[in-house]
Each structure stands twice: as structure tokens, then as C-alpha cells.
Subunit: 124 residues, 2 copies
């Protein structure tokens, strides 16, 4: 396979995650080469958690797994776009459908997203 450029940004590339049906952008996460290979191998979106410093199979705790339907690669080979089926209906750990649930309005951020679950119920 034409290689992705993992070296440009210290071994990590950003992955934009989009709902494969609605086109809604759900989140952005990072992949190292291992996460990329695991995503291809398993069909489940797998990232590198920068906060926990470990491989992160999205949804392993919450059950909100992302089934990968399609992957596109950008012109520079240093960013990927995952089109996924989001199990559980929400990608964000705060319970919102998308991590981008706040809209910039003047000097403020206004919540415009849809809350799908209560984090207290999911992450016990």
C-alpha cells in the first residue's frame, strides 16, 4: 500500500471521523501506525489516546464502537477520513452525538448538539 506519512507529526496522524450516512463530522482523533493497522485489520476504529498514551479501540468502555465503512486518504498522505457507523448513536464521551456540539457565536460557544446519553450511566 502507498504509505501514510506518520513521521511528519511525531508518529501520529489525525483521523477525521464522519457518519457514513448523514455526513455529520463526529470527532477527530489520532492514529499511530499500530492504530492504523488495527483499524484496517478489525474494521473497528482504533486510535492512539494522547492523554492515556495507549492504543484505544473506540467504544471498548462505552460500547459505542465505530464500524468503519470507508476510509479516504488526503493528498499529502498525512490525514485520513473514516466514514463510520457509530454504534450507540453518540461519539462524544460527554454524551453528545458529535464532539463538535458547540457553535461559535460572537464571543461565546453555544451548545447546539444533541445529547444522546448520560455519561454517568455509560462510564460507571
Amino acid at each position: 500500500m502507498t504509505a501514510l506519512d506518520f513521521e511528519k507529526c511525531g508518529g501520529l496522524i489525525p483521523a477525521v471521523v464522519q457518519d457514513f450516512e448523514t455526513g455529520e463530522v463526529l470527532m477527530l482523533a489520532y492514529m499511530n501506525e499500530k492504530a492504523w493497522q488495527e483499524t484496517l485489520r478489525t474494521g473497528k476504529a482504533t486510535y492512539w489516546s494522547r492523554s492515556r498514551n495507549e492504543l484505544w479501540v473506540k467504544g471498548n468502555t462505552s460500547g459505542h464502537v465505530q464500524l468503519v465503512k470507508e476510509i479516504c486518504v488526503d493528498c499529502d498522505g498525512d490525514t485520513v477520513l473514516l466514514k463510520v457507523e457509530q454504534l450507540g448513536g453518540a461519539a462524544c464521551h460527554t454524551g453528545y452525538r458529535s464532539c463538535f456540539f458547540r457553535k461559535v457565536e460572537g464571543e461565546a460557544f453555544r451548545i447546539v448538539g444533541k445529547k444522546v446519553f448520560d455519561p454517568k450511566e455509560v462510564y460507571k
Copy 2:
């Protein structure tokens, strides 16, 4: 305004850029604080070019400016989503509508995007 976290990744945050009408993901670029402020001030998507190490008003050379229709901020405040009107119909410097014009198919990347312009004609 609630602040964005520019420090987490060396002063730069990723900006996912989406067509405001179709929802197509067009590109990913990076912003430093100055680029962010300029984007807010002018309404034209402005990034930090990591290759040229300079502020980059998207479309200044090609005319393919991105007019910002909406901005969303993610849960961690370290990624933004721009919904834009892409003038000239293409975001990618290669002439494709989206930078994500290649799809992963097994071991290969297959071109699936739509070419809108000839780079030789645009970047003279």
C-alpha cells in the same frame, strides 16, 4: 470567549473543513492563535502553513477562498470544524474538490474524487 487550547499540540490546532451545503469533508489544516483570530475577523478561512511556516489565507493564490459559514468547537476545545462555502469549487491544490480524493481499497489507494481544475492553469 471560552479559550481554545492551542498549547496541547505545540501552538497548533487542527481545523476540519466541511462544505456547508453538502457536508463533504474538504480538507484538514492547522491554525495557530493568529490564524484563528484572522478567521474570526475576516470570515475567510486562514490557517498556519506548516510547510511554508507562515500564515496562509486559503485561496490567496488560487482564488479558491473559503467563506466561513459556521464554526463548531469540539469537547476538548482543541479542534475546530469549519463549515465553508468553497469558492472555485475545489479545496485541494491538486485540483480535486476534496483533499480526501483517494479511497483505501485493500492494499491500494484508488482515486474516487472529482477533479475540478488543472493545477497548472491555476498556479502559474
